[in-house]
């Protein structure tokens, strides 16, 4: 098996107070491996140790015990950063710079020659859709725009490992969808992605494997599909048929014959996100259309069409 991109062994972080006494155990003996080319999610409530883990991997914090390696190098070795792209939760970019200057600055930090910097900056600005705003200072940007330019700076060095801290936080559904698509694209390009998020549906959508942390302890760790599989329940979907009381009765009888019970039966619903995106697409396709009182909302099936 190939060497993992990230590996932690008994990784522990304890924050001490001024007198050297234990203040908080932020992470306790974490053992995880992240393989090349996967999207790995770190989940957990606030204060569970997700961001601490990321900060330890990036060398922003030093481990109290244990060790972590990134691409075989110690986390304190700055050379590992040559292959890492990092997008923090908040966009901590310099707001007095514009998009071009921002990418040029971070490109210089990777020691990229001018020709490469200019070419890559232009490609990334186009990729994140900020072509028209590239000359504006970041202080004039919306949160979503800052998140986009933040992602562009994380990709300026064409990294092998991309670490994203709450990448969809604060984004509107369109922005969130764009971000998730981009993360999938990164995986398709062969990059490894580590992300932590509160938005469980985002993680479920895009992550291959996850680790769930709670109060600094690893609680669950594995493939999303495996972890979420409920072998004690059966889900079925049918088409070309209408739900009638007779059908429901027949279904109940069949299931009783097989020793089970029918819990629920009904019409499937789409996700609100899908519905919202379809509405927006519809609006774009029919400019001037607006919802009037008394009018019936577009049903899901109609919106699909």
């Amino acid at each position: 098996m190939a060497e993992p991109v990230v590996e932690t062994q008994k990784l522990t972080k304890i924050f001490l107070d001024f007198w050297g006494r234990k203040k908080k155990v932020a992470l306790r003996a974490l053992d995880i491996k992240v393989q090349e080319g996967e999207i790995f999610g770190l989940l957990g409530p606030n204060g569970s140790g997700k961001t601490t883990t990321i900060k330890l991997l990036l060398g922003l914090l030093f481990p109290t015990e244990g060790r972590a390696t990134v691409m075989g190098k110690s986390t304190t070795d700055v050379r590992k950063n040559e292959l890492i792209g990092y997008l923090p939760e908040e966009s901590y970019l310099y707001r007095f710079l514009n998009a071009e200057e921002t990418l040029d600055f971070y490109g210089r930090l990777f020691d990229l020659p001018a020709s490469v910097r200019v070419k890559r900056a232009q490609e990334l600005i186009d990729r994140v859709g900020l072509g028209r705003d590239k000359k504006r200072q970041l202080r004039e940007y919306s949160k979503g725009m800052r998140q986009r330019i933040g992602l562009a700076q994380a990709l300026i060095n064409d990294p092998k490992l991309v670490i994203l801290d709450e990448p969809t936080s604060g984004l509107d559904p369109l922005g969130a969808r764009w971000m998730k698509d981009l993360i999938r694209d990164l995986r398709n390009e062969g990059k490894t992605v580590i992300m932590c998020s509160h938005r469980l549906e985002d993680v479920q959508d895009i992550c291959d494997r996850i680790a769930i942390l709670h109060e600094g302890d690893l609680q669950s760790y594995g493939h999303v599909s495996e972890l979420l599989k409920d072998t004690m329940r059966v889900e079925m979907r049918a088409s070309q048929v209408r739900l009638t009381p007779e059908l429901e009765k027949d279904l109940r009888e069949v299931l009783t014959r097989h020793g089970g019970t029918l819990d629920t039966v009904g019409n499937p619903t789409t996700t609100l996100e899908d519905y919202f995106l379809r509405i927006v697409e519809e609006s774009k396709a029919r400019p001037g259309r607006r919802f009037l009182p008394g009018e019936q909302s577009i049903p899901t099936s109609a919106a699909k069409n």
Binding site: F15, K23, K24, A26, T52, K55, L58, G59, L60, L61, F62, S74, T76, V78, R79, N81, E82, I84, Y86, P88, E90, Y92, L93, Y94, F96, L97, E101, F105, Y106, R108, L109, F110, D111, Q153, N157
Partner: protein, 648 residues
């Protein structure tokens, strides 16, 4: 470190508060780049780095050492072992600081331990200096190992960012304050016509100094802490950036901006000063005199080293009277021996001698009337008897009297007039024939090449002089050249200010790698101010401050005792005075870590029309950079060892 760059012995015995900033012998590069000075520097820096190694081992332990690469680890261990003698010396010095509590301690004869490297044998100091060097290298090893990885592109990127940050955050607005001073300053500055340049130079440099130093301290102290607070630093340290590149980049960025501003302000200030200069002011200060100083001693006063004391509180000048000191005694004289005369003066037609003496009157005299003095310039070849015989022979033979040039060239003698009148607070001038300097070039080696003798011609008055009150001008005195030389001199004074900006910026920046912005700012300015008052602190260490040390002064405040009165010999007072002595010993140690600030101020040179020597400037630059290097090393480790992120 500051004291380390001077000869410790001369530092101990320099006259305290005696000299104005321009009244000192200019430094030369060789005076700061020689083994004793370098050795003192190594000992001072090494005393700290060896202690740092101990603390590092105590708090980080062997685990950190084992993380080093095998080659680096071996080098580190060897260097750390070589540092042990220096650590021993540290402990020895700490014990020495308690000497005032030992029996048989004599405060009058025992110099402070921290300043007294000269009391150790030379070979001990040499060994300790090498041990210090080992400890410095051990501390600098991580930096030295990473040195090949440093990228100028990254440093330049951070420098450019710092530059843009300052500009776009409208830091330049602070300098409009200076514009106000320049525009309206003259409304509030009363000055005599002859003081015009002196006053304007002082005001311009004062304003530039205050604004530039405050801006540099503010910029540098808040740069990194603001980045940490806003977490912008996260995105820099997660790139392949060495922490020292952040430090150097910030320093380069701030210094580039401040240098640019300083250059513009210097140009504007010069234009402001040079517009409409009055002839009196031009005569007084629109120059860049290169003085050649002699050594002063007295004759027929109380002592050869001191003139008469007229009771002035400031004992800088010694006085000579017009009357004989004792009945039947000789006329009191002030004599300058010029042991080194630049050979270029010998080829000149004339050389200007300038003097500024103080008048102490015992009778009222007349309004606007000066005091007469006698002046004689003689070389080592001057023989009064021979000259008398020559004059008599010429008189007998009816030959014309000797001309001034003949007297100077053949007999090494020049007397401008029987009595020269001079006035208080003005510079007197005498034109001395160049032939006299030609005569002084060769002659008996045991005599000073040139001697100037000054006597007071008025019986009821006293004339006061100090060593730097009389000098020859080595510079050419053409008017156009004077303006040009003044302008260049003004620029050189700005370079002195640049060194002070570098000092404050680096200190603030280094401190901000660990402390918050406000604390960094305050500590940097405090260190700078302590450097400014180094003379006073030295006087305090040597026990020359009236009223004693801090505890003694406190006791006097409480008991309402006057400063001059000896404290009573009670048990409590003994405890107070001995504690003060121990405190003074520690203060003596602290003195070594203060920057030389006073010698970086060249305003007095420019305002009084004295040339700032290039070598003096270079020597000061070397001292400042040498002082800052250990600080930069400290900043490197502070930034490297700290966790940039916090728990949240």
């Amino acid at each position: 470190m500051a004291t380390g760059l001077l000869d410790p012995a001369s530092t101990l015995f320099q006259p305290l508060f005696a000299a104005l900033s321009l009244e000192r012998d200019p430094l030369t590069v060789s005076s700061v780049l020689n083994w004793p000075v370098l050795r003192y520097y190594l000992l001072t820096v090494g005393s700290v780095t060896s202690l740092c190694l101990v603390f590092w081992f105590l708090f980080r332990g062997w685990k950190q050492v084992s993380k080093l690469g095998s080659g680096t680890r071996s080098a580190f261990i060897i260097l750390a072992l070589l540092s042990l003698p220096m650590l021993g010396l540290d402990l020895f010095c700490l014990v020495q600081f308690t000497r005032p509590l030992w029996p048989g301690y004599d405060p009058e004869t025992t110099p402070p331990a921290a300043l007294a490297t000269t009391i150790r044998p030379d070979w001990v100091n040499n060994v300790m200096a090498l041990s210090s060097l080992a400890s410095i290298l051990a501390v600098a090893l991580p930096f030295l190992v990473n040195l090949p990885r440093l990228s100028f592109r990254r440093i330049f990127a951070i420098a450019k960012l710092s530059f843009k940050e300052a500009i776009r955050k409208r830091v330049l607005y602070a300098f409009t304050g200076l514009l106000l001073i320049l525009l309206f300053g003259s409304w509030f500055i009363p000055s005599k016509a002859s003081d015009q340049i002196r006053t304007y130079v002082t005001v311009v440099f004062w304003a530039m100094t205050v604004i530039l130093l405050m801006v540099s301290a503010l910029l540098a102290a808040f740069g990194i802490p603001a980045d940490i607070k806003s977490q912008s630093l996260f995105l820099i340290v997660t790139k392949p950036v060495e922490r020292v590149e952040i430090l150097l980049g910030r320093l380069l960025g701030y210094m580039s901006l401040l240098t640019l501003i300083l250059a513009v302000l210097t140009g504007a200030g010069l234009l402001y000063i040079l517009r409409g200069v009055s002839p009196e002011a031009a005569e007084e200060s629109l120059k860049a005199r290169s003085p050649v100083y002699g050594l002063l001693h007295y004759e027929n006063t109380g002592s050869e080293r001191e003139g008469d004391n007229v009771g002035r509180e400031w004992g800088y000048r010694g006085y000579i009277s017009g009357a004989a000191a004792t009945q039947g005694g000789g006329q009191p004289k002030a004599i300058w021996d010029f042991n080194s005369i630049p050979s270029a003066l010998a080829s000149r037609k004339s050389v200007i001698a300038e003097f500024t003496f103080d008048i102490y009157r015992t009778t009222k005299g007349f309004e606007n009337q000066g005091v007469g003095i006698g002046m004689a310039f003689t070389t080592r070849n001057y023989d009064a008897e021979k000259l008398r015989l020559e004059r008599e022979a010429r008189e007998r033979e009816g030959k014309p009297a000797l001309t001034v040039e003949e007297l100077a060239e053949k007999f090494g003698y020049y007397q401008p007039a029987a009595s020269i009148t001079f006035y208080d607070y003005s510079t007197g001038t005498v034109e001395v024939p160049g032939k006299l300097f030609a005569n002084a070039q060769t002659g008996p080696a045991d005599k000073p090449p040139l001697i100037v003798t000054v006597t007071c011609k008025e019986v009821t008055q006293y004339v006061g002089m100090a060593r730097y009150d009389l000098y020859f001008r080595e510079d050419e005195t053409a008017r156009g050249a004077d303006t040009l030389r003044f302008s260049w001199n003004f620029a050189k004074a700005s370079m002195g200010l640049w060194l002070r900006i570098l000092l404050v910026t680096t200190l603030s920046l280094v401190l901000s790698t660990y402390l918050s912005g406000v604390v960094s700012l305050l500590v940097a300015l405090f260190i700078f101010l302590l450097g400014q008052f180094q003379d006073f602190l030295l006087a305090l260490v040597l026990g020359r401050v009236s009223g004693g040390g801090p505890l003694e002064n406190l006791s006097r405040l409480i008991t309402n005792e006057v400063a001059g009165k000896q404290l009573e010999n009670t048990a409590l007072n003994n405890v107070i005075m001995n504690t003060d002595r121990v405190l003074r010993e520690f203060l003596g140690g602290l003195l070594n870590f203060l920057p030389e600030v006073q010698s970086l101020s060249f305003t007095e040179y420019v305002s009084n029309g004295f040339n700032i020597g290039g070598a003096d400037l270079a020597a000061n630059a070397i001292r400042t950079i040498a002082y800052l290097l250990p600080w930069l090393l400290l900043g490197y480790h502070a930034l490297r060892e700290r966790e940039v992120a916090g728990p949240t």
